[in-house]
C-alpha cells in the first residue's frame, strides 16, 4: 500500500545545468507507471531521487501508505547495469535484501527459494553471477526486489541492456510477479513499446530540463500478454502517439 506524490521537484547541478524543472506527479496505490523521455531528459535522475539515491534541489517526494506491521523495506530498486554482487552467490544476493529486516533465517531461505523459482532461476541458487547470462542476471535482480515484497518498486531501465526477445519475455514475467504481489511500480525506460506493454499510465518527460509533458493512460485489460498485445490496433495507436510526443 503506497501512493507517491512528486511535488515541484527540481534538480540543479552545481555547474548550473538544470536536469529536472518543477516535476509534478501523482501515482496511485499499486499503479504501474512508466516514465519515458528523450535521452538526457533526466528520467533516471527523477527515479534516483524518488528512490532516495539522489537529493532534489527543490521540491519533495511524498510516499503515503498504510503502516505495515510486518518488517519490510519502504521500496526496492532494480538497476540497469549488472548490480548483483559478484562475490555473492545468486541466493546470497537475493537474501541480502533482508539484511535490515530481522526476518528469521529459515523464512528468508524459503522466500528466496520461492522467488527464484518464480523468475525461472530454480536450480541456479548456488551459481555465481558471472555464470549467468545477462537476462538471468536481471531476473535475479528482479527476484531481489520482489523477495521482501516492498510496497514500492523503482526500476531504472532494468531491461535496457538486453536483446529484444529477452526483454519481451522478462516484461511478461514482471507482469506475472506484479499481479501476484501488487505494488506501486515506477518504471523508467527508453522502450516505447515496453512502456505501452507494461504501464497503466505512461509519463512523457520533455527534453532537458525534464518536466512532465504529457501523461498517456493505457487502458488494456489485465492480465496482459506482451506478445498478444502487439496485435491489438490500439497498441500501435499508443506507440505512434508516444513517438510523436517525443519528437
Amino acid at each position: 500500500m503506497a501512493s507517491i506524490g512528486v511535488e515541484h521537484l527540481t534538480k540543479r547541478y552545481p555547474n548550473g545545468t538544470v536536469a529536472l524543472d518543477d516535476v509534478n506527479l501523482e501515482i496511485a496505490d499499486n499503479e504501474f507507471v512508466a516514465i519515458v523521455g528523450p535521452s538526457g531528459c533526466g528520467k533516471s535522475t527523477l527515479l534516483r531521487i524518488m528512490a532516495g539515491l539522489d537529493a532534489a534541489t527543490e521540491g519533495r517526494v511524498v510516499v503515503e501508505g498504510a503502516v505495515s506491521k510486518k518488517p519490510e523495506l519502504p521500496s526496492a530498486t532494480v538497476f540497469q547495469e549488472a548490480s548483483l554482487f559478484p562475490w555473492m552467490r545468486v541466493d546470497e544476493n537475493v537474501a541480502f535484501a533482508f539484511d535490515s529486516l530481522g526476518v528469521p533465517r529459515d523464512e528468508i531461505a524459503r522466500r528466496v527459494r520461492d522467488v527464484l523459482g518464480l523468475v525461472g532461476l530454480g536450480g541456479y541458487e548456488r551459481a555465481w553471477p558471472h555464470e549467468l547470462s545477462g537476462g538471468m542476471k536481471q531476473r535475479a535482480a528482479v527476484a531481489r526486489a520482489f523477495v521482501t515484497d516492498p510496497p514500492v518498486l523503482y526500476m531504472d531501465e532494468p531491461f535496457g541492456a538486453l536483446d529484444e526477445q529477452t526483454r519481451v519475455g522478462l516484461a511478461n514475467e514482471l507482469m506475472r510477479l506484479w499481479e501476484r504481489s501488487p505494488k506501486t511500480v515506477v518504471f523508467v525506460t527508453h522502450g516505447i513499446e515496453e512502456a505501452v506493454t507494461l504501464a497503466d499510465r505512461v509519463v512523457v518527460l520533455s527534453a532537458r530540463p525534464g518536466s512532465v509533458k504529457e501523461i498517456v493512460p493505457i487502458a488494456f485489460p489485465r492480465p496482459r500478454d506482451a506478445v498478444a498485445l502487439r496485435g491489438d490496433p490500439a497498441f500501435g495507436v499508443h506507440v505512434v502517439r508516444l513517438w510523436e510526443l517525443l519528437r
Binding site: S83, W87, D99
Partner: protein, 264 residues
C-alpha cells in the same frame, strides 16, 4: 601439464645451466660466482646441519609478526581512506611522503624507539608493510563500482554488513595483491634487519658468511631467502581460488600477465 608450465620450469633451469657453463669456462670468476652445483652442495650441508631450519624459522616468524602488526592497521587505514574523503585528505599526503623513505636507513631509529630486541625488527617490517597495505587497500575500495554502493543504499544495508559483505570483498582483490607485495618487501626488510643485533636468521647467515668470506654459504643463504619468498607466494596463489572463489574463472582463462601486473 600445459606448455606454459614447462616454460615456467625450464626458465630457472636454463639460467642455472648458463651460469654453470659461464663458470666452468672461466667467463665468470668462481671465487665470486661459485658454480650452482657447489652452491647446491653447500645448501644441502647447510640444511643437514640444522642451521638452515633454525635461521629460516627465525626469519619467517619475524616476517609473520611484522606482516600482522603492520598489515592489519594498514588495511584498516586503507579502508577508512577509501571510504571517507576527510580521512583520505589527512593521511594521503602523509603516506605519500613517508612511503618512499627506506626503512633500512631508519633502522637505528627503531632501535632507539623499541630497544635492541625483536620489537625493533618487527617494527621495521611492520612499517614497510603498513604503507603498502594502506595504499593498496585504499585503491581497492575506490575501484569498487558505484552501482554496488547504490544497491547497498537502496536495500538499506546495515553498516556492519556493508563493511564485511560489500566493502571488504569488493576491495579484496587489491588487498590480496597488497599482501603478495608485502611478503616481498617484508622479506627484504627482515633479512636487512637481521644484519645487526641478532645471531639467528637468514639475514645473519648472509652477514656472517660475508664476514668470514664463505662465498658458497653466502649463496646458499641467499637461495634460502629466495625459496622462502617463492614458497610463500606459491601458497598465496594456491589459496587465492579459495579466498576469492568468485574470481576463480579469471585466473583459469586469462594469463596472469597483463591484467594482474597492471594492477600492481
Amino acid at each position: 601439464m600445459t606448455a606454459r608450465r614447462w616454460v615456467q620450469i625450464a626458465a630457472p633451469i636454463s639460467l642455472l645451466a648458463l651460469w654453470q657453463i659461464a663458470v666452468s669456462t672461466r667467463l665468470l670468476n668462481p671465487g665470486l660466482f661459485p658454480p650452482p652445483t657447489a652452491i647446491f652442495e653447500n645448501f644441502i650441508a647447510y640444511a643437514r646441519s640444522g642451521e638452515l631450519a633454525v635461521n629460516a624459522y627465525w626469519t619467517l616468524s619475524r616476517l609473520l609478526v611484522g606482516l600482522l602488526i603492520g598489515g592489519i592497521p594498514g588495511t584498516l587505514l586503507g579502508l577508512a581512506m577509501g571510504m571517507n574523503g576527510w580521512v583520505r585528505a589527512y593521511f594521503g599526503p602523509v603516506i605519500a611522503l613517508l612511503y618512499p623513505i627506506p626503512k633500512i636507513a631508519i633502522l637505528p631509529l627503531f632501535y632507539f624507539l623499541f630497544g635492541t630486541g625483536e620489537a625493533a625488527k618487527w617494527a621495521a617490517i611492520a612499517v614497510g608493510v603498513f604503507f603498502l597495505m594502506a595504499i593498496n587497500t585504499e585503491a581497492g575500495v575506490r575501484q569498487i563500482e558505484t552501482i554496488y554502493l547504490d544497491v547497498a543504499r537502496a536495500y538499506r544495508i546495515r553498516p556492519g554488513s556493508f563493511f564485511f559483505r560489500v566493502l571488504l570483498p569488493g576491495a579484496l582483490p587489491n588487498i590480496y595483491a597488497g599482501v603478495k607485495l608485502s611478503i616481498g618487501i617484508g622479506i627484504v626488510l627482515a633479512v636487512a634487519a637481521e644484519y645487526q643485533l641478532t645471531r639467528v636468521g637468514l639475514g645473519f647467515a648472509i652477514f656472517n658468511a660475508q664476514q668470514i668470506l664463505d662465498v658458497e654459504r653466502l649463496y646458499a643463504a641467499l637461495v634460502a631467502v629466495s625459496l622462502l619468498g617463492f614458497g610463500l607466494s606459491a601458497i598465496l596463489d594456491l589459496l587465492e581460488a579459495r579466498v576469492m572463489p568468485w574470481r576463480a574463472h579469471r585466473t583459469d582463462e586469462r594469463s596472469v600477465s597483463g591484467n594482474q601486473a597492471a594492477k600492481v
